[in-house]
């Protein structure tokens, strides 16, 4: 689902992608392309989100009420669908962030064991 550029391909869990999407939207509304770009840039070009995974994730989150969508004008003045976190989404993002911190710390402990 997420292709890691220059790294041997390895799938990340679907939940992780959703977490990244929520994180991308934490700073303000973005359209789908913007979300993909932001993740790409912020991950130092390590993570590239495929469109075929991004949009189902966005729509799934919208369907569950974690995101709200609105049509507006993009930076180059085209009609685009902007996604914004709802309060439910913010709550979910906070929970996911904590979960991720615990998980990655745990994995780090294991991997660093000698």
């Amino acid at each position: 689902m997420i292709r890691e550029e220059n790294v041997e391909s390895g799938d990340l869990l679907q939940g992780t992608l959703e977490m990244l999407v929520l994180k991308a939207l934490a700073r303000g509304p973005l359209h789908g392309y913007g979300v993909a770009e932001w993740i790409h840039q912020t991950s130092q070009q390590l993570l590239k989100v495929e469109e075929g995974a991004l949009y189902p994730a966005l729509h799934r989150l919208e369907l569950r009420g974690l995101l709200e969508a609105e049509w507006g004008a993009s930076e180059n003045n085209r009609r685009a669908k902007f996604y914004r976190l709802t309060s439910e989404g913010t709550k979910k993002l906070n929970a996911e962030t904590q979960r991720w911190a615990r998980l990655s710390a745990a994995v780090a402990f294991v991997m660093q064991a000698s």
């Binding site: 392309y33 469109e51 075929g52 919208e62 369907l63 009420g65 993009s74 685009a80």
Partner: protein
């Protein structure tokens, strides 16, 4: 809002705004692609390459747009819609099959729903009053096998007085009231109710107040006699006048004050009646004059009693309390110590039973016929389902290859079963809908047949939630019954084998042969049971009619005059009757006119004890009749003479005996001119004639010993008589004439009621007639359905064997042999079914025994006839496919391969 809820709402939105969401999705993709392209351009790619790169990075748009779509839809729902469409298309394609299926099912469902709605109206529907489940019906055990429900006044007043047992105890009795209108008196249906009746019903009056214990005191409350009327009566009689409360109503020549109006939904405690006037119980001596049920004490049994339980009290507690007061009430009620001692010996006690559906005496009469009818209908429905199941199975077998192919292409078995079930569900739902349309028609005619039996009975067989629930239950049960087995079987086979051998797989046919055969055999058995039952009922009805009633009811009309509330009495009243007789005699078509007190076979009666000098007391039935009665009724006069107008009280008491009575009193056959003595008042009567026996109370019982006295010698002062008129041609015009005659000669009396005599005979055998008519109808349907089933399954099976038969013929099989081979398949099934059916019918026919008249429930002729009918139908249904098989052309059958 929870995410799940959000998801559901989002999907619902898509259902209705699907197109818009779809185009938005496309827009979103388009935007994304454009952004990608502009980025590539920015990065320095040439125009063409950028376009290509964007498309490549994007992947197959349709594929993941599909994924988005899936996200947004109710997957199961849309699959369902697809299945329904597909099934509907398949059913349309085989219109013949669908029509048969719908027809049989509609019949089964229609009949069942109709009878159920009647059972619902009569037995199940709770009274429309608050907390109807707190109501109880009171009865008493007095040594008989059944509890008694008709009380005398002292018993009831004793219970009413003891206020610690129930919240309310109340009594009621339906009555006809003579209400003075603009032109004389009119008969209005009413009910006499005791003081706590309305308090127990807890239904607020539409206007004014309801009756209370004050109104139920002798002479009424301080405001005088009070009545409450129904909303209907208010609108009809008072034209909805807003000031109706306080207005006067003259009932039985006595002024009453209207104190309240009850709303339309209130029907009283008897769901089969719609009383228009509610009067206090204590006014019975006025309304029923000259009879008086209240002061007759323990000699008048006339009211039904119900009660409302105290809040929190149980039925058991109430029963225990009733047990304790039974003997005290019995002792204080009886004016004759011997009576109460006798009753105490039989452990006399009151008891309460659940009464949420109110109390209707007709229930005792109609309970059994209705339940029997329901069983018959259930049989028909089961037959329809079995039939459809076997037809569907035959069809499923023919579709084996289609289904196997679909399985091979990746459809799951569950999906196929679901689709096949949807097919049967479609049939079931459509059939049920059709049946529901038919049901009210059927139940109306049935209710009319039943109601003819009980005067003025209202049977509300309208469809309510309970009936719809029942119909839905039937539809689903039917769908599963008819669909599941065929569906599981059709999809259960080994895939490879079926595709390889396809429709010519002989193994598959052998494997599953027993199931359809068993279904068909049980159909035949069920049909035989229904046919035999109908045969018994019809034979019994024919015998009942053939037995005759002892008089000739055809062409005789009965005109009932109510004289009890007008001024004339005694000889003056007789003179009035004579004038009415003269008036009727001069009408066109009228041949003979006479009068009778008791209408024969109307379930009414009058009896007394007589003795011949030196003989024993005999209880015989009596009737008061007019001159030329026997000529009018065509009852033969064996010896002696008819009564005449001169046979008055002054000319000496006369009596006419029927043959049975003459034989009882005078075994030596010299009755004429002898005396019989009334054992009560020792009055002596001279026998002036001996006449033929006639049925008395009903058609079923044999003609009893009976005697006739001249109507002029009646003891009742204001006797109400019926004119009997024998006439040629239609009796319709006589209705208007008799009304005009009554209005001229006796303006005070209500309009006379006119009814042909043969209608009395028909209603006397009403439930027998209805059951026979229904039984024969159902039996005919059962035969038809069975024929269709036998024909259909055999035709399918034979069609699938076309090439096999072709090969057999090519190898030299005779056409006759082929025919026999095909025919044999059904003959075997039919024989087994007949055997099983015969055994079942023998066992079940006992249930009908109580309805049968001079017919044994194992009447051999009926059973042989039913067997013959079924055999004939089975042969006819099997012959057509057999003949068709014999006509197969071997060459074309083999080439077809």
């Amino acid at each position: 809002m929870s995410p799940a809820m959000h998801e559901f709402l989002g999907r619902m939105k898509r259902l209705f705004r699907g197109r818009r969401l779809e185009s938005e999705m496309a827009d979103e993709m388009e935007f994304h692609k454009a952004m990608l392209r502009s980025r590539y351009l920015r990065e320095g790619m040439p125009e063409g390459d950028a376009e290509r790169a964007a498309r490549k990075s994007f992947g197959d748009q349709r594929r993941w747009q599909e994924r988005l779509r899936e996200l947004w839809q109710f997957r199961w729902l849309e699959n369902l819609v697809r299945d329904v469409r597909f099934s509907a298309r398949l059913l349309m394609k085989s219109a013949g099959f669908t029509a048969v299926a719908l027809g049989t099912l509609a019949l089964g469902v229609g009949a069942n729903t109709a009878v159920f709605s009647m059972i619902n109206g009569l037995l199940l529907r709770p009274l429309p009053v608050p907390e109807s489940d707190r109501l109880v019906v009171l009865n008493y055990q007095a040594g008989g096998p059944q509890p008694e429900y008709i009380f005398c006044t002292p018993f009831f007043r004793g219970l009413e007085k003891r206020q610690d047992i129930f919240a309310n105890v109340f009594a009621f009795n339906s009555d006809t009231m003579q209400v003075r209108g603009r032109s004389g008196n009119e008969n209005i249906r009413g009910v006499l109710v005791s003081g706590q009746y309305f308090a127990a019903m807890q239904v607020a009056p539409l206007k004014g107040r309801y009756l209370n214990p004050e109104d139920d005191r002798t002479g009424g409350s301080s405001e005088g006699l009070a009545v409450v009327i129904s909303e209907n009566f208010w609108r009809r009689w008072f034209e909805g006048a807003p000031d109706v409360v306080g207005r006067k109503l003259v009932i039985a020549n006595t002024p009453f004050t209207v104190v309240g109006v009850m709303p339309k939904r209130f029907t009283g405690v008897n769901p089969t009646e719609r009383p228009e006037i509610y009067a206090p119980l204590s006014v019975d001596p006025i309304i029923d004059a000259p009879r008086d049920h209240i002061n007759a004490g323990t000699h008048a049994w006339w009211i039904s009693v119900m009660a409302r339980l105290k809040p929190g009290a149980t039925l058991e507690q109430a029963n225990a309390a009733l047990e304790a007061v039974s003997t005290p009430i019995l002792r204080e009620s009886a004016d004759d110590a011997r009576y109460s001692q006798n009753e105490e010996k039989h452990h006399f006690h009151f008891a309460a039973e659940p009464g949420s559906t109110g109390f209707a005496y007709v229930r005792f009469v109609f309970h059994k016929p209705l339940v029997t009818m329901f069983a018959m209908c259930g049989g028909i429905l089961l037959l329809a389902c079995l039939n459809l199941a076997s037809l569907l199975m035959a069809r499923g077998a023919a579709r084996e290859r289609e289904l196997a192919t679909r399985l091979a292409l990746g459809a799951t078995r569950a999906r196929l079963v679901r689709q096949l079930l949807i097919e049967s569900l479609l049939i079931a739902v459509a059939g049920t809908a059709l049946g529901l349309v038919l049901a009210p028609l059927v139940s109306h005619s049935l209710a009319a047949m039943l109601a003819g039996n009980a005067d003025g009975m209202v049977l509300d067989s309208s469809l309510d939630m309970r009936v719809f629930g029942f119909a839905a239950l039937i539809a689903v049960t039917a769908a599963v019954l008819i669909g599941l087995i065929p569906a599981l079987r059709a999809t259960g086979g080994d895939l490879n084998e079926q595709i390889k051998e396809g429709q010519h797989s002989s193994k598959a046919r052998e494997r599953g042969k027993w199931l359809p055969r068993m279904l068909m055999a049980s159909q035949v058995a069920l049909a035989l049971v229904l046919v035999a039952g109908a045969g018994l009922l019809a034979t019994s009805l024919v015998r009942l009619y053939r037995s005759g009633v002892g008089f000739d009811p055809r062409g005789v009309v009965n005109i009932a005059f109510s004289m009890d509330k007008q001024q004339l009495e005694g000889d003056q009243l007789m003179e009035l009757y004579r004038q009415i007789g003269e008036g009727l005699r001069t009408q066109p078509g009228v041949k003979d006119v006479s009068f009778q007190y008791i209408v024969p076979v109307s379930h009414r009666g009058w009896n007394d004890r007589f003795e011949s000098p030196g003989g024993e007391k005999q209880l015989i039935w009596l009737n008061g009749v007019g001159p030329e009665y026997f000529r009018t009724m065509r009852i033969p006069v064996f010896e002696g003479r008819e009564f005449g107008w001169n046979d008055t009280k002054a000319s000496g008491l006369k009596i006419i005996l029927n043959q049975a009575a003459a034989k009882q009193f005078f075994p030596n056959g010299d009755a004429l001119g002898r005396q019989v003595v009334n054992s009560h008042d020792k009055a002596s009567y001279e026998v002036v004639a001996v006449v033929g026996d006639a049925k008395y109370r009903d058609v079923r019982s044999p003609a009893p010993a009976a005697a006739y006295v001249p109507m002029q010698q009646a003891t009742e002062k204001k006797i109400s008589l019926n004119a009997v008129v024998r006439m040629e041609g239609p009796w319709g015009p006589l209705a208007a004439t008799s009304r005009a005659l009554a209005a001229r000669l006796a303006p005070a009396i209500p309009a006379p009621l006119i009814r042909p005599m043969d209608e009395f005979v028909d209603t006397s055998v009403g439930s027998e007639r209805m059951m026979a008519v229904l039984g024969v109808f159902f039996a005919a349907c059962a035969l038809l359905v069975t024929a269709i089933g036998l024909y259909g399954t055999l035709a399918y099976a034979t069609a699938r064997r076309t090439s096999e038969i072709g090969i057999r013929m090519a190898l030299g099989a005779q056409r006759l042999r082929v025919m026999v081979m095909v025919f044999r398949e059904n003959a075997f099934v039919a024989a087994i079914g007949c055997g099983a059916g015969l055994a079942a019918a023998m066992m079940l026919s006992k249930v009908l025994a109580s309805f049968l008249y001079e017919t044994s429930p194992r009447d051999p002729m009926v059973f042989v006839g039913s067997l013959a009918a079924l055999a004939a139908v089975a042969c006819a249904a099997s012959l057509v496919p057999a003949l068709r098989a014999a006509r197969i052309d071997p060459m074309s059958a083999i080439r077809c391969e």
